[in-house]
Point group: D3
Chain length 325, copies 6
């Protein structure tokens, strides 16, 4: 891959105009309030994993609309109350299997690995177990990006972000979790979700946001020809008169608007050859983030970003922030 986006010096200063609906905060306040009308009802069913140092719970809680959302909770064996990392998943994947998620527990954290509703049915590396009962009121492009996109109330990510906010509550409800030390984390779509939750949930204390998706939609659909952003382009190419409506909806879900509300310490990462989530869309959010922040830049990587290297940085960072050793 070659360098295709802005040069690094420009990226470091890039602060595009945001398109924020006047009722953005109201929209989300109302959304979360409605969701709160459903009992969270978190269940932590002990799961017989072939592991010794970690206890695993097959977890279910009520997400948006009271729909059941699946997750894995992993807790270090024999520890008392520990901090927790609530983890969201990249596009197309699901919570996978417990053995896929051992870094945080081995480092002294509980972790809650949360399904993204409806996803995880085609990715052989991370299967999911959660449906999205709302198929939408109109035609959609294959994938999830345009499900319900003509109406913010019915847009798929309204449900996903709400599920994710409630996942933090579910994590806090686990007896081994110290509710005052919860961080969110995610890569790509997971990063986009973490970014939103960090802005929406008042008791989140830190955010780890890697090569986030769902951020700066307008630029993204114009400069990359890769999925999943291209799902939106395909939709617009078919539903030729919906552009205004689509971007009106997306404004309620754009990471730029969540970043502008970030208050907790955020650790971002961006990759300069990332054609899936182009670096300018990531830096735009990072530059707008209003809380404490740092960013790791991987100049020679694509969407894989820093991989395990970034994981190690995050482990050190959060162990320090949450006083784990």
């Amino acid at each position: 891959m070659s360098l295709f986006d802005l040069p690094l010096e420009t990226l470091r200063e890039y602060r595009p105009e945001r398109d924020e609906p006047a009722d953005f905060d109201d929209f989300w306040a109302r959304t979360l309030q409605e969701a709160a009308g459903h009992e969270l009802a978190p269940e932590f069913v002990p799961h017989d994993a072939p592991l010794s140092g970690v206890r695993v719970y097959d977890t279910t809680f009520a997400g948006w609309g009271g729909h059941p959302i699946k997750a894995w909770a992993l807790v270090p064996e024999g520890a008392g109350e520990v901090p927790c990392v609530v983890q969201f998943i990249g596009y197309s994947g699901g919570r996978g299997l417990p053995v896929d998620h051992l870094a945080w527990p081995t480092a002294g954290f509980a972790t809650l690995v949360v399904d993204t509703r409806g996803q995880g049915g085609s990715n052989h590396a991370s299967p999911g177990a959660t449906g999205d009962p709302d198929g939408g009121a109109h035609s959609q492009a294959p994938g999830m990006m345009t499900r319900g996109i003509l109406d913010p109330e019915r847009y798929y990510y309204r449900r996903v972000f709400t599920d994710a906010v409630r996942a933090v509550d579910a994590a806090a409800a686990h007896p081994s979790v110290d509710a005052d030390r919860i961080s969110v984390w995610g890569i790509s779509q997971g990063g986009g979700i973490a970014q939103a939750v960090a802005a929406l949930h008042p008791s989140v204390k830190a955010a780890l946001i890697d090569v986030p998706f769902l951020t700066h939609f307008r630029r993204a659909v114009e400069i990359t020809d890769r999925d999943p952003y291209q799902e939106i382009v395909r939709f617009l190419s078919s539903q030729r008169d919906t552009e205004e409506q689509v971007f009106r909806t997306l404004a309620y879900f754009d990471g730029l608007n969540f970043a502008a509300r970030g208050r907790v310490p955020a650790m971002y990462s961006a990759a300069l050859m990332d054609t899936v989530c182009p670096p300018s869309t990531v830096f735009a959010a990072y530059n707008l983030w209003t809380g404490p922040k740092e960013i790791s830049v991987y100049p020679w990587n694509g969407h894989e970003g820093g991989g395990s290297r970034q994981r190690e940085l995050q482990l050190r960072h959060l162990r320090k922030l949450f006083s784990v050793d």
Copy 2:
């Protein structure tokens, strides 16, 4: 493309074992009966098309679950009661625009062009206008093939086939349509739907089935690596323990089982270089069809099959069968 499936002589004799659930007929009788509990409520709103010889109606009727299904009804200007062709659409597409569907009206038929719920949101050539409110109870692969696939009751095509059966009723309800002369027609997914409706709806009088999809699933997923059949493979690669459940569901929707119930005159077409709907899957259905039948074979074509050439054959065939001139 090269020849990759069985030789033509073998295709002409190919009659695989069918996998038919014991309650196949019950399943469908119950399904259609439940659907009948919702008023059909067909609406034919005159549409201001820039056309002279054809009247166009923006049509809505209640499909499965009473959900609104969109269609275009086109009727030759000034004719009395005419026969009707109910047309179903290929995968990814929707009802498109009225100007896309002028062959049957110009040939003396009404036509009802029926949306496939949830589809038509990414195909720039045939946009749709109908949602599928049921997003499914589990993870799915992008696309529609695996939405609800773990349970015949919730499988996406249960709703689609039911919508399609009711589309015939909607057509019959139009004042210009002679309900005794209704044919179904479709290409690819549309052909699979037409094949099912011809078996399920007692008053259909003819079937035009081109390179049908949704037929002989087991062989299809084993010999072609192309979408949309591959959506099922991707699902199975991720949801590793669902094979039995998936094929149990598909047995209720497999074109082979509908073909074995075909009674009206059927006109099939197959293409020998078709890697999307391989010719053996088409011939399997054709050979099992129990009513009068004929098949056009296009030896040098892929999934496009006979194209407009086949259209002309169908027009002649149906004008004769339904005494139009």
Copy 3:
């Protein structure tokens, strides 16, 4: 696809220098005069199409060099003298079958669908029936773009544009056509031909020009790597010393020079993600068009442009312009 050409605001002002040979008008006057030396000899053989509302004629007329050019004439059944749309075809295709061309007849127009000589032999969706007897005096790249390209007199499109001008005469010769209400229309190559004919034939009254090809060659071969413009690049990569000669020839056929002679009302369309006929090449012509004009812009589409949506706009536009209802 992503946005790869100039931004829309710049496109709206983009007026490149034209490269016009001093004898451009003479060249074409002489060309058409020579062609006029051959009898037009239009034949309209009634064709037994399985249609009721439209009469179809298998049409032949003498094009450049007196060569037989095939076309379909379709006339609304039972109407008197009607306006006519002379339609030219996209690259690789031919006149197809009558059932492919029912929009204009259903809307109250005759239409003449004209083969492009030599093309239509590989496109399964629109077969042709007309040869180009002149194979050229030198090596060529596969395809038609470089046949005879070293000499304006022998260049392939000299024959094609001449055929097309004479197609208008053939249309006018049909007894059901009102020769005072003839429009030309085409998409891609067809748009490029229509653009030229509108400038060359004095009795054309309107032009519908969609995502035109054969326009602004110099920029096109430099910014797109897609066929058919790339045929020219491949030729230049092999015939390393012909650049000057090639562009000298192309200057006689460049849509920019025809646009600068446009006088009838023109309706253009352009697509911002069109990598086949990049939007800057289309806007360049549109901006230079000297007659009344309007343009539809499809920001999220590739070379398919507006598709049937654009068709509906054209039907309304021309029904109004030619007083049809």
Copy 4:
């Protein structure tokens, strides 16, 4: 590439039925006789090449229809009468430049490198300089394979093979060439042409035929999906009713029918991973060749076959056969 055709043991025995027109010999006798009505008129214009050991002549002779055919003649400096290799070119290429053809002259042979009319306009490695004035009487697929294919009299390769037979006469007319020691040679299309000329021209004394194209058309179009054989498939996919006519024409040009008339010593080569000219099509001809013969098999190569390795074998073979040292 993997092994995709028959196993080597089967290839060695593979002798398919030939489809030979009753008037095959008459057709070619008449064709060559007609051509003989045009003066050969070979011109050998000394060409100022920057070479010392080889004299180069820019050559022209009258081919089919008296059309001018270009070639390079290269003769070892200072030798007397030498044997000559008449070389035909692979698909898409032309005679290239003199420096591309130094192996035979350096080995003591004259060589005549013959353009294939109309080709050589897109291949940057071997430009051509000869047009094919006959563009055909019907639509064609891009490329040369289907130009005039509906009629053996007008088929492109009738002209090419005739040019090639006359190229042997042109070679013999050069003062430095010993007309009793002429061999033909070619790779791919060049091999197919050489194969035909060896059968058609009585004074050819040897044939070098590498991975020949234009041989066993029926099998080729069924088992490979690669160009140029696929040009025929694309034509048939568009011109849906021409199959019988097309294969009737091809029977006059099929290498199998020329091989069955082979009488001079032939040196073939085949590559087992050749997806362009599959080994079964090559072995079919080799097995049918009726003269003395040998074949080099390259088990791990694709269409490049033996490359320079085979060239060395041919040089040794022909130096021995023609007593050169």
Copy 5:
């Protein structure tokens, strides 16, 4: 992907002839004996990983030729002597980072993750840290498959397999490892190495072999066109006279010959749509394995095989076999 290899029933019985050099055992005895002339010199340098439950050691030992080989040793915190899994890596990868390898430690095992010399320099997900000082005595294809392939003594995998045998000794040398409970494990190339080591090292007690590479070379290079097996084909296509020599070398390294010497319990996995290591090559080895054995078959997966699902099966299997809980 579609099914492209033998049907499952045939796979279960597939036992091809083996090509085993007479001195196979001598070759390996001599090779390991020579290696034993170098001190193993294992170093376990404590590594400051941000983990709590696992101790990490940056490990080096002397492999073939005494060359330094890097590995990670991970040991569960606070456990006594534990069994150990020695893990080999898939083609192109290296030992990665410690956080990538937490499943075995969390399950109560030590693990030694061993670099493959020279690899790990292009895979962003698993970097390596070990060079292969021997670049070979002849030309090679890019990659490692043909480095030194003309001579069994200099072949790359002679060094790799020797390194791997000595890795078992290095593992046994760690104070926390119970040398009587060592298993080998690997996926793809790692599986091929594990298979060899299980046959070559007398104190290995179990083998986990997933979709093994380096097995049944002859069939592999004939039926798959994918890397890395294709590196061998590319070499043979260039070095046209080395086929015999190449396969003579490979016979000393073919997994079939190691499988025929398997004596410990082996757990294999195969995937039916695996085009990288086709299932017939895997089943051939499995069927030849002479010790206790079981195989997991993933019918709908490609080379990813069972992924974490298989990992869970292996964890349970080995915990039982080695009495861990």
Copy 6:
């Protein structure tokens, strides 16, 4: 291909900053001095080629580290002392076969065609016969670009450039070669090597440098996504902390630094659509070349550049420069 790099006018002025190590000259002086410690020991074994006008010698000489390097020497039959062209090979290829290299001998030059160590094992068109015994001290990406790249002393091209400098000495040692008239030549990698040798070897008298590789690394890896430059990017994407070290090493091998030391007449070529060695990297070197120079620009070609056309220009140029006729 489209134009993707700077416009030609800008290219003509493009002179980027060079990154030259302070000890650049020392590094190379020391390197060549060390190499001089090994006897050159050139062997010219007469090779039985089936040629008459050229004598061929299978040549070996001691390169870097005294390693044996293979070459072909070709000398015009019967000439006395002639000038010589030392030819270096493009990436992946080797010295091929003698019949591949007849242009210079036929034009009155000796030529020495030099293997590139380790390469020539996958290219079917130009096999090599020389190994690179030094496999490197660390992980590498497949291919040669990153072998030893972490240390200038161990970097692969240190050995290659040294071999190449000594190849000039080997050429001079041939009795038929006039050591005062030696030119270097190469295309792509061969051009990069020739450029370096022209700067490093004092008795070289001319340089022919076509579309050179190994030049302006920093820009190359940023603007092209094609191999072989991308090997470096893949290495950096895996070995995430080596960027500084890698570019430090490359600075000793960058063509820009050799061009700045060019003193003999140089003939360059560049192609404007060359995505392998982008034109800006070539012009950067050309513009920095300090000796007499000229450049051929091929505006419509990719990495093939001028091909045989350029060869003819070079033959004329060098015949004049070296007074050959």
